[in-house]
């Protein structure tokens, strides 16, 4: 399931501080769980989440196994200009998902 849910206001006034909400589907397997026969289930997590706004990074988070499955992260940014926000999640086993959203700033 490569589904991400991103919530960015469709438009904002220049200078407004807007809240961005992100939710991505990922099991975030900690690497500390064991099967019923005692074998460790290997770690499989998202390790990095970044957001670029018109090419400049505005948010970066390094994630550890303590982040819940289906990571939900919200943060803020100043609406500077109309453009594209690019969201990138990368992690174990070559995991890489990129999503975009646009905002109209007047």
């Amino acid at each position: 399931m490569a589904r991400a849910l991103i919530n960015v206001p469709r438009k904002a006034k220049r200078g407004d501080i807007i809240e961005i909400k992100t939710l991505i589907s990922h099991v975030m397997e900690t690497g500390y769980r064991t099967t019923q026969t005692g074998q460790v289930i290997p770690r499989d997590i998202i390790t990095l989440f970044t957001c670029d706004y018109d090419g400049e990074e505005i948010f970066r988070a390094e994630l550890h196994p303590a982040i819940s499955a289906n990571p939900f992260i919200t943060f803020h940014t100043v609406a500077t200009a109309s453009g594209t926000l690019t969201f990138r999640w990368t992690g174990d086993n070559g995991y890489s998902v990129t999503e975009t959203a646009t905002i109209a700033v007047e």
Binding site: I17, I18, T30, Y32, R33, T34, T35, Q36, Y53, E56, I58, F59, R60, A61, E62, L63, H64, P65, A66, I67, S68, A69, P71, F72, I73, T74, F75, H76, T77, V78, T80
Partner: protein, 155 residues
């Protein structure tokens, strides 16, 4: 019992030095207040950690430690001259002490981040903010974790 009241007071008072505090025996794969202090020291170095400016919003009692909502906010104008550079969150009883490491800048407008975390047991969660002037500030919150009844086990 892991940890002591004295250990917690040391941490909240912002002590960077570990002198005089006995390191507890660490079982592999288990964090302790000591390993949390060590993880914090890696970020903060020998600097003083001030109390204040950082607010942790987290439930005092959670129904399930798998999904604990957490919001960290830092009192800061978030200008180019004065802003939060980073927020680090730690825990003291999960298998390892790091939770999340966040990088911010003046473009954030507001230093306020929310997420959902896993807590393996009743424990302290510590948030440390690094400001653009190089200073560190922290807040701590204690969370009681209960579990849903009628578990299906390790299925």
């Amino acid at each position: 019992m892991r940890g002591t009241n004295a250990t917690r007071r040391d941490l909240l008072a912002g002590a960077g030095a570990l002198a005089g505090v006995a390191l507890l025996a660490v079982r592999p794969g288990e964090a302790t207040p000591a390993s949390m202090r060590e993880a914090i020291r890696k970020v903060v170095g020998g600097a003083d950690i001030g109390k204040g400016r950082v607010t942790i919003e987290i439930p005092a009692l959670v129904e399930n430690g798998n999904v604990v909502p957490l919001t960290v906010s830092v009192d800061s104008p978030m200008t180019a001259q004065e802003h939060v550079k980073a927020i680090h969150v730690f825990n003291e009883k999960n298998p390892q002490p790091n939770v999340i490491g966040i990088k911010l800048g003046p473009r954030a407008g507001k230093a306020m981040v929310s997420t959902r975390i896993r807590l393996a047991d009743a424990q302290n969660v510590v948030a440390i903010a690094e400001l653009s002037d190089g200073s560190f500030w922290s807040a701590s919150a204690y969370v009681l974790v209960t579990l849903a009844a009628c578990l299906e086990g390790n299925l």
